[in-house]
Amino acid sequence: MNTLASNAKPTSILYLDGVSVSFDGFKALNSLSFVIEPGELRAIIGPNGAGKTTMMDIITGKTRPDAGEVFFKGTIDLTQKDEAEIAQLGIGRKFQKPTVFESHTVWDNLELALNRNRGVFSTLFYRLTADDKARIEEILSTVRLANRRDDFAANLSHGQKQWLEIGMLLAQEPELLLVDEPVAGMTDAETAETAILLKEIARTRSVVVVEHDMGFIRDLGVKVTCLAEGSVLAEGSIDFVSADQRVIENYLGR
């Protein structure tokens, strides 16, 4: 039960304390606690079933914790909000398996992601304005999809889908980005590209990356949190963490 000094809370962008949740007796998270500072880029590693995705579910309001606090920007209690609200607060999430609107074009995907009024009627009578156009163009070039704008997302390569999804997150203009295994199934070249992309993004906002790929994490070169059995095992620089005995037997060992 390592409860953090709550003095970290007000200044943090994301604050988890003693979060636990269990499905049919299985404890997916066991009083998990950590803090993300504004503008921080944090990598989270851990073996399968360590609770990484469940953690994201909790932060994004998909799952309600049985116990514990989850605060955004120190003051907003996320456990009381649902996905849509949380997204509108400015928390973006990228899934493990890239999920984009396959039957829409790349352009439409981004257009839907744009952070505009999301009510029924405002979308019903929405018209694409000049600066919306500009914004989409910008993102298209950021995620290197400018030349595929009119293709259906279904026809993109796996890596491109990953990027499109990241692009959509950007269009959402979040303050906190949760990225689940962004380089899964990517070529080394793409992986390197993605690392750069994420660093770029992290300049303007906080990012949490869940990853298995240690090489990728080294490329990022950021603070690492290692989860196991639903709670934090070790935290610190990649070298520090990978030196930790428990981490080795729990994770790297295999």
Binding site: A84, T99, R118, Y126, R127
Partner: protein
């Protein structure tokens, strides 16, 4: 902003179909009324009322397609909205009979009289006015859909669970309307209509008018539906269909998105029902039968869900087939119908229109590829010459 909405709606295909429908709406009645029965171009009243009916079915299918094809909500209860609209109109037509009923009771419909009802139930008031009935024909289904959807979508009832409870809804309504105590004529429903807005319901003029009305209503709904699916909102609907959670995490209130589509669709179904009843001359609880709702799903699937024109084609094709088969080989037509459904699902998963569209796009791509090739070859030429 409405104009832009409509302009977006009118892409080429929609324009063609709408034009076609309007032409039919004008032409068929003319041919029916102005030409003599033995004239080669004469359209018999039988055909007029038949297709009037088909158009209302088509409208119902279109309404279902809006939620199923574009939002992935498979409603197995859409016939309920259709029937409710029908009952609203039926009640108006009942009140129009007035004192001309068998018992000459100015206020009470016949079925109430011989079951010894003493006064008119409260919910029958106002239905002597057409505008009120027309309003109810849209509002009642809309309201039901809104309330039902509000709960269902808020608590994230999805996929087959939703389908089954929509079925439960229509089944419950079926049983309820069968009860004579409900005051809707029980199993016999509402019949013996005399006239609508002062015109005899049996005159060819009225029939043609109703036919035209159905065609026009279909055309308008087609424009509205097309406007909806082509707007940003429409794209979100499709997003909900394909990746609901992604839409959520983009910050959209999926339940509101669904609710709006569901309600609009229910209202369209209500209009269809209201136009249907005066043309077939009866509305009874049988319309709530879950089997009917399933049939609507089938029309839509046959025509091609996720396309706007598909459901219209499907509804007319299947019902046309039904009309012909039930007369041509009454003993075996069910084999034909059943077979059709199996074959379509197996070999035309996109439905007729969907497949056709797919086919055409393939051909376009092919042509494009050809053209590029030629161009490249042409570009390559000179170098080869040097």
């Amino acid at each position: 902003m409405i104009t832009s909405f409509i302009l977006k709606a009118l892409d080429r295909n929609i324009v063609i179909v709408v034009a076609l429908l309007l032409a039919i709406a004008a032409l068929v009645p003319a041919l029916n009324l102005l030409t003599s029965p033995d004239h080669p171009l004469h359209v018999p009243t039988y055909i007029v009322s038949l297709f009037g009916k088909y158009f209302t079915y088509a409208l119902l299918a279109l309404a279902l397609d809006l939620v199923w094809g574009f939002c992935g909500i498979l409603s197995l209860g859409h016939a309920a909205f259709f029937a409710l609209g029908g009952y609203a109109m039926g009640m108006y037509l009942m009140r129009q009979i007035g004192a001309r009923g068998s018992y000459g009771n100015p206020l009470l419909p016949d079925f109430m009289v011989f079951l010894n009802w003493k006064e008119l139930p409260w919910f029958w008031y106002g239905f002597d006015m057409f505008w009120f009935a027309a309003l109810m024909a849209v509002l009642v289904p809309g309201l039901l859909a809104f309330v039902f959807g509000w709960f269902a979508f808020r608590s994230r009832v999805n996929g087959v669970y939703l389908s089954i409870i929509t079925q439960a809804m229509t089944f419950a309504l079926l049983l309820a309307f069968f009860r004579n105590d409900m005051g809707f004529g029980g199993n016999n429903g509402l019949t013996d209509f005399k006239d609508i807005m002062g015109y005899s319901i049996q005159s060819n003029g009225t029939r043609s008018a109703l036919f035209a009305a159905s065609a026009i209503a279909l055309a308008l709904s087609l424009i509205i539906a097309s406007g909806i699916v082509r707007s940003k909102y429409g794209k979100i609907l499709v997003g909900v269909r394909d990746a609901e959670s992604r839409t959520r995490f983009l910050g959209y209130r999926v339940e509101h998105m669904k609710l709006f589509a569901f309600t609009v669709s229910a209202m369209m179904a209500g209009v269809a029902g209201a136009l249907y009843v005066p043309q077939v001359g009866i509305i009874n609880p049988g319309e709530f039968d879950p089997a009917n709702s399933i049939e609507v799903v089938i029309w839509t699937a046959v025509g091609g869900r996720g396309t706007l024109i598909g459901p219209i084609v499907g509804a007319i094709l299947v019902n046309g087939g039904k009309s012909i088969f039930t007369a041509a080989f009454p003993e075996f037509w069910l084999f034909a119908l059943g077979g059709l459904f199996v074959l379509v699902t197996l070999f035309l998963p996109k439905g007729i229109v969907g497949t056709a569209r797919h086919f055409i796009e393939r051909r376009k791509e092919y042509r494009k590829a050809k053209a590029d090739e030629a161009a490249r070859a042409f570009a390559a030429e000179p170098q080869a010459a040097e």
